[in-house]
């Protein structure tokens, strides 16, 4: 399987360990050029974060690659998912560690990116293990961490929206401010009266997001702001369906494509299959999601978990 730009970026990030956001962006931009892809380099970096390979501190504009981890995921039939660092030598050791009759290594490309028209993100590396013990030993053999049911842990660690934002912000200039319409998810020009809710401060192609409530402006992350804005509205934004054995389909969790999820929610959902979501009819679809994980995420984001109609 040929390397995607995301594979190159993950290998570079793994070798470097940690650095500034600018350095990561430039590496991503280089890979977009060398792969002749015209997409925002942030599409690459976002995918690495969503897949649990690296963490980005947006405030300090730094990042670090995560420790290599063998994830045993419920519903994947002992097909372990490798996340975190992937240096050349680490991948070499992983391959050696997987040379065992009780381990069957596999690699699969990520879904095709709709802008690049080819997979962008790092490939999925799996190892089907004969038992939990074999999976644990595989991790030990190449000095990786071992974790069972990562999605439940990530969903539990995710910050909910019950606490209001606290970081104060200056009011935006009305000419730069756009209000998030919670009914349509559209951004509309701010009214002079500044109704409460989520605002986008449009600095050209860089956005900052603000929450306005009771005459107080605060900084807010976009996903948190969106879910805060739609909280209490009579709409079903999460839907879950169990696996359909007859149809050979995994369980599904779907969210409107225009609503973003907090990073840890995104990570909890992608690690459940090791793949980025796909988009169908305006909904982003994640698969092999335990109902308990779906319910936890919905609850933390102030939503009920709906069924498919």
């Amino acid at each position: 399987m040929s390397d995607s730009p995301g594979d190159g970026l993950l290998r570079w990030a793994s070798e470097v360990g940690s650095a500034t956001w600018d350095a990561l962006r430039q590496a991503a931009a280089h890979l977009c050029s060398s792969h002749q892809i015209r997409v925002r380099p942030s599409r690459l970096t976002d995918s690495l974060s969503a897949l649990g390979h690296l963490d980005i501190d947006w405030e300090r504009r730094v990042w670090s690659v995560a420790r290599p981890t063998i994830n045993v995921v419920p519903g994947l039939g002992l097909c372990t998912v490798l996340t975190g660092s992937r240096t050349y030598y680490l991948e070499d050791r992983y391959r050696q560690a997987a040379e065992d009759n009780l381990i069957f290594p596999m690699e699969f490309p990520q879904p095709i990116d709709r802008y690049a028209q080819r997979p962008l993100a790092p490939k999925l590396i799996l190892a089907k293990c004969a038992s939990l013990e074999v999976a644990r030993e595989l991790a030990q053999r190449f000095d990786a961490d071992y974790v069972e049911d990562p999605a439940t842990g990530l969903a539990a660690a995710m910050r909910g929206i019950e606490e209001p934002p606290t970081t104060p912000a200056a009011p935006p200039l009305r000419e730069n401010a756009w209000w998030f319409n919670p009914e349509t998810y559209d951004w509309v020009e701010a009214l002079p009266t500044f109704p409460g809710g989520l605002y986008r401060q449009d600095l050209g192609e860089r956005m900052t997001h603000l929450w306005y409530d009771e005459d107080r402006w605060c900084h807010v992350e976009l996903p948190e702001g969106q879910f805060r804005a739609i909280e209490g509205l009579d709409q079903s934004v999460f839907r879950w369906r169990p696996a359909l054995d007859n149809a050979g389909q995994a369980s599904r969790f779907e969210v409107p494509a225009r609503l973003l999820l907090p990073t840890l929610a995104e990570r909890a959902l992608t690690v459940s299959l090791g793949k980025l979501p796909t988009t169908h009819d305006g909904w982003r679809r994640y698969r092999n999601i335990p109902k308990t994980v779906a319910a936890t995420l919905a609850d933390k984001l102030g939503q009920a978990l709906g069924d498919y109609e």
Binding site: S14, E15, S34
Partner: protein, 706 residues
Amino acid sequence: MPLSYEDWAERLFEFFFDEENDGEEILFAIDEPTLQEIYPEGGTAAGSSLAQAVASRIQGSQWLVSNVYLNMVQPWERLGRPGAHPALPLLALTVLAASRMQTGGSFAANNYYVPLRRTLDPNDVGHGPPGDFRDYIEQLWFSVEEWSTVTLEGRMGILRAESQSLRYVGLALQHAFLRASDLRHLDEFFRRFGLEPGEDLDVEPAELRRRIRAWLLGRNEPWAIRLRDACKDRQGDDRELMSHCERLLIREARRWDGRPRDPRTGRAIGQILLVVKSRANPQPGLYPKWDQRLPESQVLHLPGADPTTITRVEGFGWYKPHPLPIENLGQVLEEGLDVTGEPTNFQFAEASLYTLSYDNEIAAWASVDHITFGEPHIFVVRAEIADEVAQFLAGQAEEGGPAGHPMKPLGDDRLSDWRLIGPSRIDVRPTAGLPDALAPFLPAGRGLSLRLLGGLRIGERRNVYLRGGEPAIGLSELADPNQPLVVERAETDEPVGGDLEIRTGADEVPPWNLEPQPGEDEVPLWTLKLEPGEYIVKQGGARAIFAIVEGVSAVAGPGAGGVLTDGVSGTIAPAPAPAVRPHMVVVRPGIGSWVILGSSPDEYEAMKLPRWLKEEFREPHEPAFLTWTEIDAWLDFDPIWQLFPSSESGAGTREARLLHPSEPTTDGTSEGTDWAMQILGAELHADAEQEEQGLWLRYRERAQGR
């Protein structure tokens, strides 16, 4: 009150000799503006004050330079050379005279003595060398050089006394043929050609001089004309000036750190930046910027305004008040602004294009010296180049991204010749077609030598790249364009990768000959798919070396796991008390479902084999291959029994198998539960031992409510 000769000596010493010049040559550039900086109280009379002070020591127009040497310098030397050198004011006057020579004319001696005489005494109508000038002037220069080199050990800079062919005159001319303010424009040149602060510049001085001259061709600003003239090829008596010019240019290149400095003294200069508060109603202003080299508070002498005290906004990188009270903003944008300050001078550098990025500290767009990839910028541009710049920026838009880059006039009548473009964003280093005005802001295109651009650089060395992350080669302006670019394996005495172990691929690989296309500024190397090893790139005499490696880290580079997302690094975020845990259970061939029972009636789980996985994890056009003999069951209870249907359809009697022996814990209310129904509808497998049979019997009794 005019300054005395001794006062002038002290002030000149303080102004030019500074630890910032440690080990460097001093450009003793004396002209009228410099004298006013040294003696601000004197204003425009600073030059005549100096002349008056010098005249008092050399008997006026009798020009007895011997008085300074014999009566001042020699006694001072005998005292151990304390304080300022007594010859500094006289030498300053000789340089001032040289600065008044006809611009663009020959520097021959016969052009020098008239201005020299008239600088001291405007009424002097004489010609030729005055008094005993030629008998002593060299000794004075040599004495100053020895003092700066030996007594001060070069720690505050070295004032050279090299005249060579231009004896007597060349000593002063070498400091006067170029204005100090002209040298600040080299900043644009260094940025344009991608010089990095601290870079070990491997370039011939003459090539650098010629390249700067070529860069200035076609530019008509007064500074550009002077600098171009200074950089021209010279013959005969003027050759020494050419060498001196080259030394100065190399010095400036080597100590360039991207921040403005006074080329005479090496001291920091503060920056004044262009700021636009609102894009909807763009009214530009000038803001003084603080950096760590500058004091927290100081005074600026702005043209046409009272002295203005500026104070740093606590914790921020800006001074207040802002904007500065500047009346003729249009003129300032075109011509720049030098502001005398106490203690630091400030400058605003003129340009035909200003790049601004959003600064959170002042919630406004402020001019910057480089474009950050991926960040939005706006551009304040001269109207005549606005279309070209807007067109280029539109071409940088990503596919599917916004293509339009609105252009509008500035909301200020004084700036009718300027336009505002953007915001727009450049994601990737452009490889060609970059407008000249944008070039200083993007490290792209040709440089002074072959340069390694982009790529996936790793490790501590500057030129080690990850396999698959080969850099591009930025071509050299100085190389012969007809020469091909050659890339070949290298064996260097000192390995490029330092201590890194570089695995090499095939030993014998032919050199690659790459033909740069016309108009191309850089050549990407990633198409070569280079094997690990050390490489050298050559084009004529220019060369660059680099290494390709598979990797340098065993598990991850330094700092891995150091950044957290909501307290989590990667995927390890253990739930405080995991509710479900995995257990291994058996899978029967041809049977896709089963039931797991625990010891109490609420411990029941119907499970299915994840057949969808067989489709998910298979190669295209290949049969499914995933099979299981055992699989993980995720349960919130300890499993005791596994019940298999006798057929795939699930019909018929189930067969029970013991997983872990444990007594039932029901209290007799299990009747009718799924748990009880499953037990009562199942039979223990035929091979069960007596103990297992006994346990199964007790479970059946509980299922019946007994």
